[in-house]
Amino acid sequence: MSKIAFLVPLFPLVGFLINGLGRKFLSKTAIGIIGTGVIFCSFVTSCILFQQVCNASCEHQTFNAVVTLFNFIKVDAFTIPFAFQVDQLSVLFLLIITGIGTLIHLYSTAYMKEEESHHFGRYFAYLNLFVFSMLLLVMGANYVIMFIGWEGVGLCSYLLIGYWFKNNNYNYAAKKAFIMNRIGDLGFLLAVFWILLKLGTVSYGDVFANVAKLSSFDITTITLLLFVGAMGKSAQIPLYTWLPDAMAGPTPVSALIHAATMVTAGIYMIARSNILYTLAPSTQAIIAVVGLATAIFAATIAVKQNDIKKVLAYSTVSQLGYMFLGLGVGAYTGAVFHVFTHAFFKALLFLGAGSVIHAMHHEQDIRKMGNLKKHLPITHFTFLFGCLAIAGIPPFSGFFSKDEILAATFSHNPIFYYIGVGGALLTAFYMFRLYTLTFLGNFRGSAEQEHHLHESPLAMTIPLIVLAILSTIGGLIGIPEVFSANSHWLEHFLAPIFAASNKLITPHHLEHSQEFMLMGSVTAIIILVIAITILVYRKYTLKENESNWGIGKLLANKWYIDELYDVVIVNPINAFAGFCKNVIEKSGIDGLVNGVGKLVAYSSRQLRLLQSGQVASYLLIIMLSIVVFFLIWFNDTTITRFLNNIF
């Protein structure tokens, strides 16, 4: 029944091939239809799979189908099948990826309309390839297939960030993204090797079943190394700097890859390996700390950003931090839930931003916007929904998922909780700063821009509307127990995945009253923050030489982290490489090799002086040699004795 699973990635692959190879022959319409169509087909297939999984879990059967296509690598020590795993977790991600993917493809057909035909084809080819890779990542039944997807999405991210390849800054951003991802990938890879070494298999089923065979050191190391992979892919401290730069890519790309799907791969991976992490509490602690730190850190930076996409990018980093916090405190369902809702509202926000940028003719500075609600009503409303969702206003989806994570954090460690809440307040602040500057107040752009302001075409607004609806109601799949018992559909749905972990986690449930109080107070404060923010920023006027000072300057410059990396890592490596190239290689090793040659030449020049041309000196050397021969032969004892006698 899950035989159709292979179709899910196959459709995007076909789309990639058609668009990629035929980009010069196909019309834009055809490309758009093919590009979107294949993803839609995948979506449909995913829905069918979802249905099957649902049916199975409703009947309380463990649905855990592994579809093996062929043996990818089979060597003596291990076998790595090219296999897909269709279960609750993967099917959920399939829906997100293909669903949002479809919407964003649709959106892109309009957004990228101005591109030349073959670039348009290239764009869709990349996008399809990305979906294909992402699907491999999610569906892979073992770590290697996941790694294939893992690197594949990195590649597509690289290609799409550098889509406008004429601009070298974009290329640098793309390169940075790829290399930072690679750092993480190395960790991932080492973890895979470790697993292979200890267990001889990388298939999830076998690994999780044999987890008992691993020592706690092994598990800690493996989980840490995997987490390094996740850090890279999901932009956590210290490997987060690529994500804001990745905004160089087309906005739909940011929406799909750098908000909704790819960056959540790390969460997926950890959720997938939850049993390992549950058994490695120290790793979990690290994850929680890193996640929380990232959440706060990115939020502080977002406060001072003026580029509409940058704000969203840091917000993404921050939200990913929350997800890791959730994972770190053992709230796997919560993390996945947040992935789910975040995918909706962050995609929505990015697409909305895209719509704004589209309307503003590629103006991205929010200080030069304002009062756009008049011209872009649909965008405005959908964006507002998104903001409310991310700020965590009930009953928008963000509220439920974030609350679940924070609740779990509270029971885990209250200090983390308060810090997390602080981050949530910052989120509300910067999101509504963004919203206010963009849509409220006065228009601060040029007159020409104002003249051309218009609402986006249907292909762009439909995804916005759909996503806005989903952002609003998406939280309903995970209503906390507080409100009604057994209402958390997601938890039940994913229960088989986290079953093993849940057995090991001692649930500390909060008192309902306490939970209500926390929820209520936090919500109240957030609303207060929003109100203040709107009031402050709706009066904002563009100042020419806006200077930041103190902490503001620090934040505006992103804590100087890029500069720090340059000084601490990049420059020394470059300098060392230069030293290798110019000194060690040239003077050292090659010098040694050439030195041998020079030595020969030198000794040649010296030795030939022996050939003086003088017969007498030739004969002299002969005679001396004869004497030496005699001395050698008779070990010169007899001769010294003689010499002692005569003198």
């Binding site: 020969v600 030449a601 000794s603 040649s604 020049r605 030795l607 030939r608 022996l610 050939q611 041309g613 017969v615 030739y618 004969l619 050397i621 002969i622 040699s625 004869i626 021969f629 005699f630 050698i632 032969w633 008779f634 007899t638």
Partner: protein
Amino acid sequence: MNAIIFSAIMGVVMMFSGIFTQKKSAITLTAIIALLVLLGANICETYGCFSIDVNTHNLLHFTKFGLYFNTILIAATLIFVLLSGSSIEKAGVYVADYYALIFFVLCGTSVLTAYNGLLMLFIGIEIMTIPLYILTGSDKKNLKSNEAALKYFLMGSFSTGILLMGIALVYGATGSFGITSITSIAPTSAGALPISFLQVAGYILLFVSMCFKVSAAPFHFWTPDVYDGAPSVFTAFMSTIVKAAGFFAFLNLFEANATILGPTWKILITFVIIATLLVGNITAVFQQSVKRMLAYSSIAQAGFMLFALFSNNDLAKEGVLLYAVAYSIATIGFFAVLVKVKDHTFDGFNGLAKAHPVLAFSATIFLMSLAGIPLTAGFFAKYYMLAAVVKSGGSFWIVLVALGFAAISVYYYFKVIQAMYFKQGEPEVTSATVGYKIALVLVALLVILIGILPSIVLNWFYF
């Protein structure tokens, strides 16, 4: 015996051929025919067919190995004359005399391949060298040639003095001049020295003078100057056939005595081998003249040949045979090209491949053979030498040293190839006939053939 008699007769015939004809090519033709006769005579003897039955009173001892070696020398001379006949004709006016002297040298080599006592060794060496003094100085107007001849002569006679002193001391110790008898009378008297001092001293002096003859360092000094100064054709002859014969004599002399000389003997030989390889290879690197480079390279090759003496086993014997063939043919061949090129510096060879591809190709093969590149005869020659050393056991490091020097030798040999193939230039080349070219290519192919199947040389030895 056939070879000695026929070479003497043929020498006289060549002397007189100059009286009967003034056509130089006719003289060359006569020489070729005479060489063929000589070759035939020598081969006949190997198969037991003698012209005159001479009682040598044990002064000469004809072995299969020696006769076969002599056959090789004569054949090499034949190749030499075939390739360089025209150059000999241009070397001077006394063409017939030159050929006569070459035949007298062959007489000397025939003696050396069969000698069975120090007397015949001495006479053989003298017969071989005295014509060489003359050939070296045959370019009378050329001061370099004069100088070379005088140097060669002075140093040669000096080394003869050393040789004779050695012989005298050995005689004093043993009372005999025979090689075999010397070994049988190894003194065992209890003294300060394990064997008779006179004998050891004699052998050291003999060793030195033989080293001189085969130009092993540090007794090699005459070689570069003489090879450089002598007319190129005769250098080719001297550095190949004569040297090979010298080696044979050297090997024969010490083959039987190495055992009684004991371990110190190896130290001396090792010293000489290393010195020879060092001087030959290193000094050749810096040479500007190809001819002089070849002189040094011939020293280096001698270093390799000395391994036969070092290891002193059956493999060494075969090896020296193969070495003589490989080295002689390649050197003769390369000199045949060299004499055609007017400018003997490396730059003189620039662009030869373009102007004269056949010459360049053959020269490349010869040089590769000299460098010991596989699939040329030179490789197996070196191979046998080193294999012999390994087989004799111990001293593996000396093989490594030798190989290091072999790598250096590639440097200077390939400098010529570089000049010919990779550099631009207009080399001045005296006209080469079609016959010459065909002969050259055939010799080059022979080098490759031996390189692929060395057994064609060696199997004759086993019959």
